[in-house]
């Protein structure tokens, strides 16, 4: 058999995995792999900063469901990738990161551009490898993709010393993996599923609480079928938005810190909480003791056993792949005729929630379009009108992120890309670029703030170089808006270092070779956004909004529903 170098084996293995695009940045220790990459048909996107590469890979993974692939060099290349790796770990995003490393004889010598990358990434990866022998390369790549994409998805790092990339070995790609320590449970325990269905049948106020796991499992259809079949209302976490079409009245939108009054009141009153692929994050629960206080039973479906009963004690745990479990649950429901009699009770409960929602809507439908300054709600309405609601939205972190989560009606899963767990400012633009590589035919909008966009603004260069059609909407209030909001409410209006000057975004876009627009008045909004959205290629739209605009309602951190603040 013909011998290949370790670098060529990496590339051949990626091809065998069906990888079509890599986000990366070359450097000394990874050059052998880059040299091999030049001869392959895999597309490579040269980023401007390695953090950008990791978020692009995340955006790509979220939209396609397949692991995003990143290649970086050793030392600073690797450490720059850490934020994105940690982000992917928190949001269960499949990713394979291949990093260059100094030669094996130099490891531990404080060599040029050496860091202990396996050590650094151990707590923020699902698994990681330091490859010490060229004979292991193909097996390790195979395992890395399997681990990243199987069970609860997550990032895997492969650290490749330069001499291993250069050493030679015959290439054959294994067709299966043998990992005795990694065997995720797929099918849920039938007895537990039966117990769950029983608990649901006995309840009067059942409520589904769904998270990002539903989307990773590709189970949005099964979830919607279950909710509609029984008439059970659904609340979604930030990562779960789009699991059930927002236009369905059963869809109650986001719960938690910035959830609506109606939705959070439903959580307070439910007697049977059915958590599906969600992890009882503190932004959802607030004070644990007061979370879902009337739930006589909590059912939790999750592929990761360690998520179950971690924060909240669960009555009916079901470990398994959500799609498989929900399919079995649908069968169990269909087999149980008596459950149909409960629908009338649940319909009443549903109506009650809708009444709560009407009592205190998220935003009063008032004259926000007539006022002089631009309202964030108005921007979102225009975005929705211009795209007919069919687009992928990537956000950064802060007020704009919460407004999107509250107000944009997502009809499809895999349409909102956002940093939920780690809350990484700078995620949006690169994630939007990555999304476009996964779904070239879908419209991609990045919604960001003046603070967040400046964290990875350099990726505008990447968007221009590859002609990536992303529309970047900056809600610009010359402040770190969410920080300002907390300082206003919880720190007696002492605005400690949260005001920020910003560049002239129109000129900046121009300098990068993109197109820029600026909107200062409400009356300019519709026409300018229309023009901007119709302009091909990367476009930056700088929209000035008042700094006093706050995300409401809000449950203070560590608080409970009774402490909810309103506008």
């Amino acid at each position: 058999m013909k011998k290949l170098t370790g670098a060529q084996i990496v590339i051949e293995s990626l091809i065998a995995e069906g990888v079509d695009v890599i986000f990366g940045y070359p450097g000394g220790a990874i050059l052998p792999t880059y040299d091999a990459l030049l001869d392959s048909k895999i597309r490579h996107v040269l980023v401007r900063h390695e953090q950008g590469a990791t978020h692009m890979a995340e955006g790509y993974a979220r939209v396609s469901g397949r692991p995003g692939v990143v290649i970086v060099t050793s030392g600073p290349g690797a450490t720059n990738a850490v934020t994105g790796i940690a982000d992917a770990y928190m949001d269960s995003t499949p990713m394979v990161v291949i990093s260059g490393q100094v030669g094996t004889s130099l490891i531990g010598n404080d060599a040029f551009q050496e860091v202990d990358f396996v050590g650094i990434t151990r707590p923020c990866t699902k698994h990681n490898y330091l490859v010490k022998d060229v004979r292991d390369v193909a097996r390790i790549v195979k395992e890395a993709f399997y681990i990243a994409g199987t069970g609860r998805p997550g990032p895997v790092v492969i650290d490749m010393p330069k001499d291993v990339q250069q050493a030679e070995h015959p290439f054959s790609y294994p067709n299966k993996v043998d990992l005795r320590g990694f065997k995720p449970t797929i099918r849920g325990n039938p007895r537990q599923i039966e117990r769950a269905v029983e608990a649901i049948e006995q309840s009067e106020k059942p409520l589904l609480y769904v998270g990002g796991g539903v989307q990773w499992s590709g189970a949005a259809a099964e979830l919607t079928a279950l909710a509609r079949g029984l008439g059970i209302p659904v609340t979604e976490t930030l990562m779960g938005l789009g699991s059930v079409p927002a236009s369905d009245s059963l869809c109650l939108g986001m719960l938690g810190m910035h959830g609506s009054y109606g939705t959070n009141t439903a959580v307070c009153n439910t007697d049977c909480l059915i958590a599906v692929g969600a992890r009882f994050d503190d932004r959802v629960t607030g004070r644990i003791a007061d979370f879902a206080p009337n739930a006589r039973s909590i059912i939790h479906v999750d592929i990761d056993p360690s998520s179950i009963s971690k924060n909240v004690k669960v009555d009916v745990p079901i470990v398994g792949d959500i799609k498989a479990v929900l399919t079995d649950m649908l069968d169990a429901v269909r087999a149980r005729e008596s459950i149909g009699k409960r629908k009338a009770v649940w319909a009443k409960w549903h109506q009650q929630i809708l009444e709560w929602k009407r009592e205190r809507p998220l935003y009063e439908n008032g004259n926000h379009k007539e006022r002089d300054s631009v309202s964030p709600l108005h921007v979102i309405e225009e975005m929705h009108r211009l795209t007919k609601g069919d687009c992928i939205i990537a956000t950064d972190v802060g007020q704009h992120q919460m407004w999107i989560a509250q107000l944009f009606p997502f009809e499809r899963p895999r349409s909102l890309l956002t940093s939920g767990g780690l809350g990484t400012m700078g995620y949006g633009l690169p994630a939007g670029i990555g999304a476009k590589f996964a779904a070239p035919d879908r419209k991609v909008i990045v919604v960001t703030g003046d603070g967040s966009i400046q964290m990875n603004i350099q990726e505008l260069g990447t968007a221009v170089q590859y002609g990536v059609d992303v529309k970047v909407v900056i809600l610009n209030n010359y402040f770190l808006g969410m920080v300002r909001q907390w300082q206003e409410r919880f720190y007696q209006e002492r605005y400690s270092y949260s005001a920020m000057s910003v560049p002239n975004f129109v000129k900046l876009a121009d300098a990068y070779g993109a197109k820029g627009f600026r909107i200062e008045k409400s009356k300019e909004l519709a026409a300018t956004m229309k023009e901007a959205f119709a302009t091909p290629g990367p476009v930056l739209i700088d929209i000035v909004i008042p700094k006093e605009e706050a995300v409401m309602p809000m449950i203070p951190p560590g608080g409970s529903m009774s402490e909810m603040l309103f506008a």
Partner: protein, 173 residues
């Protein structure tokens, strides 16, 4: 909080101990004692026996988080099972004409071994469960302990255990 022994079977590869130890430190769990050894019969695996403490919920999380590590093959929780456990300690004890006989009788009673003798000190090796080791140390302390090294705990489930453990508890109740 009660101490608790867990046996973790892991892939015998470099870095595996830091994965396990890192899990404990990053989640704020405590390790009270730790032993690691290549399995004498299967060199591809190692066994880590560790003693930790925490309430039931913490122990459940430790168990689940350990199982989540790709390098971990099997986690055995010794909470529900009767186990045989052993520690080993070597103690260098000061002796003179007067105390030599007293030490000899303690060594004999504990079925310990003298492994080194000098003009002013004797080194004794004792194996046993934590209680026995503690008792031995308490007895020789008045003689003067010059130096002491102690291993972590190793443990194994008793072979006929489940049944006898069950009966045992039944009787106690």
């Amino acid at each position: 909080m009660p101490s608790h022994t867990i046996s973790v079977l892991v892939e015998n590869e470099f870095g595996v101990l830091s994965r396990v130890a890192g899990l404990f430190s990053s989640r704020g769990f405590n390790i009270e004692s730790l032993t690691v050894n290549e399995d004498p019969q299967d060199p591809t695996v190692s066994r880590i026996v560790l003693v930790t403490s925490g309430d039931d919920q913490i122990l459940e999380q430790i168990n689940k988080q350990l199982n989540k590590l790709v390098s971990v093959i099997k986690v055995t929780d010794f909470k529900e099972v009767d186990t045989v456990d052993r520690e080993l300690v070597m103690v260098k004890i000061a002796v003179d004409e007067r105390t030599r006989t007293e030490l000899d009788s303690i060594v004999h009673a504990f079925r310990a071994h003298v492994v080194d003798i000098g003009p002013r000190s004797v080194t004794v090796e004792v194996t046993g469960d934590t209680g026995k080791i503690k008792a031995f140390i308490a007895l020789v302390r008045p003689l003067g302990i010059k130096e002491m090294v102690r291993t972590g705990k190793i443990a194994m489930a008793r072979s006929v255990q489940l049944e006898s453990n069950h009966n045992h508890r039944h009787v106690r109740e």
